[in-house]
Symmetry: C2
Subunit: 361 residues, 2 copies
């Protein structure tokens, strides 16, 4: 990946500077690499930014000087010395914010040693992550393309069938297909969980053959230009018991109703509540043990949360999953997940694979 940052990237730092003013920060040290990428376009494995109202510095070590020259826009580029933390600390001044969810205690101590007089390190929380919640058009385009790659991998499962293949082989084949179509890789290690394994909250694909006549939960996504997609579909590998079909339709209905409730201004907890009420009313409330969804972007799990305990409203440009599930221990699980962009009206659903029960025998 040696792609130059689009112009919209520069506007992100303008928004960050406005946020820094609210926090009365004279400068902000950005060390989280995904945040550095978000602000500058840099995709290497070592780099940091120092942002002030008047100056934007990007720093990396000698290995990445050339790559940074190709990728980074809107930032002055500097080469880090061997004592990287000392070098960064010496460039801070005044009320100097740092990302306290990223900087370790040991790094903080090193930074503290090299501060110039009058400089104070301030815990700044996660200001860049907050900006990242609302996606711009270039980000939405990357996520839409990533979602399309995953859709193709689901279609491939439907065409080849799942019964008689191992969970591990199904997962690996899907990953390779997405990579062959251009994905950077999977957005996380896929879940392929058949029969009773579908009811486990955390299932690693096994070297066991998927039988006929069971439900199979497949949760996966692609990463493209750094951006993640995330999708879950539950397949049948032949006729399944009526109880499983009923739960499938229940989850499908809960997913559709929750999706219809997604719009700018909706309380995240209330959207979760739409799906939860439907599943509760059917007597399966205890079997939906996770939140309805989560934000997706450069990370497959990021802000905002969409859950019973979430606070705050959905905003236009939020990228969130809508993924209710019902897990019947020892028997089966059902989860259906779309990735959507919140809008003032109906959400923009990035996931394209059908949600009626697909039999992949």
């Amino acid at each position: 990946m040696n792609v130059q940052a689009p112009a919209s990237v520069e506007a992100r730092t303008d928004r960050l500077v406005a946020r820094m003013a609210e926090q009365e920060l004279d400068c902000l040290l950005v060390t989280n690499l995904l945040n550095v990428r978000y602000l500058t376009g840099f995709t290497g494995t070592n780099g940091a930014c120092i942002v002030t109202p008047d100056a934007r510095l990007f720093l990396t070590d000698f290995r990445y000087v050339e790559q940074a020259a190709e990728q980074v826009r809107g930032y002055e580029r500097l080469e880090l010395g061997r004592d990287m933390l000392g070098d960064l600390a010496g460039r801070l001044h005044g009320r100097a914010g740092f990302e306290d969810s990223n900087v370790t205690v040991a790094q903080h101590a090193k930074l503290s040693e090299s501060l110039s007089e009058g400089t104070e390190l301030i815990r700044a929380g996660t200001p860049v992550e907050s900006l990242r919640e609302v996606k711009d058009p270039a980000e939405v385009a990357a996520m839409r393309a990533a979602a399309a790659l995953a859709d193709a991998a689901y279609r491939d499962m439907q065409e080849r069938g799942l019964a008689g293949r191992t969970e591990r082989e199904v997962a690996m084949t899907a990953v390779r297909l997405m990579e062959d179509m251009g994905a950077d890789g999977p957005s996380f290690p896929p879940i392929v969980a058949s029969g009773p394994a579908g009811a486990l909250p955390h299932a690693v694909p096994r070297d066991v053959e998927i039988p006929s006549g069971v439900l199979v939960v497949v949760d996966m996504g692609a990463r493209l230009d750094g951006y993640c997609s995330d999708c879950t579909r539950t397949f049948a590998t032949g006729p399944v018991a009526d109880a499983a079909l009923e739960v499938y339709e229940l989850v499908r209905n809960a997913q559709a109703e929750a999706l219809a409730a997604v719009r700018a201004g909706a309380e995240a907890a209330a959207v979760d509540g739409v799906a939860r009420a439907i599943i509760d009313a059917a007597g399966h409330g205890e079997r939906f043990g996770h939140g309805l969804g989560h934000g997706v972007g450069l990370e497959v799990h990021e802000a905002p949360r969409v859950a019973k305990t979430a606070t705050g409203e959905l905003r236009a440009g939020h990228a969130v999953t809508v993924e209710p599930g019902v897990y019947v221990p020892g028997e089966f699980g059902v989860r259906i997940e779309d990735l959507v962009i919140v809008a003032d009206g109906e959400p923009d659903v990035l996931t394209g694979f059908p949600k009626e029960l697909v039999t992949a025998g």
Copy 2:
């Protein structure tokens, strides 16, 4: 991976307790997941240990309770509550060490809020990483098997040839081959750098065809049962210029001599110096811009360092790379890397692929 920890794993915590005594710690909170895995055998994505001279607690969330029951040995297993950091903090007492290179400033603040009276958080450095430097037989066996997978991928390159294939396809094919043979995955994204790209300190495989008559630097490894291998070989894709052949033989000689100097009790800096003196004497000293090697284990880069500025001696059981290189900007690069286990006599070389110049046309 649902493999139970071998018995030797339990002895690791005994050694940790001895180290804690030197640091006068009443307990140690271990949060680095690789360190948790090293001590307990647990391979999930959320877990922590609290070690005291008398008690060994392993804690994870509800998702991993079943997996922990299968994997964790020698530790009492507990389920973490929703407030995970608060839950952990409440179980600490006295002089309570924490891994300050792993715990963030925000996590430290959260821990501090929930300490019981008389408990003091102490920066403990990296005591588990120090133990991890010396491998036990189970670890060496895993690394030997991982190295054999990479060897097979190098043989595959030799057989198929490299000219006319893209760097990206060569890298992807190697990764898939290692996975098909049982690897968890690559130990890091492979480097395949042909011609002038071989001289770049950091080269990402490109979508460009590898020409005939150039050198190609291939640096890669497999991960197996969590353990990494790391190997570099430089291929030719046909007859290359004499200057390139001379540099190849220079690097090969420097690598062989440095390898012969690897033994328990040798100063790490002196071993680096053996290769550096040979390359210096040939007038290429400025073109060997990195250290001779690094430790390998659960991470592909871990302690100890083998470099000009390294302090300390090699010890029996250290797993280190020996990888001199010469990089001629704009022309080509040569690097040859073996992974070895330090012993009292000759090192145990885990890498098996030949080191004479192999032509893969």
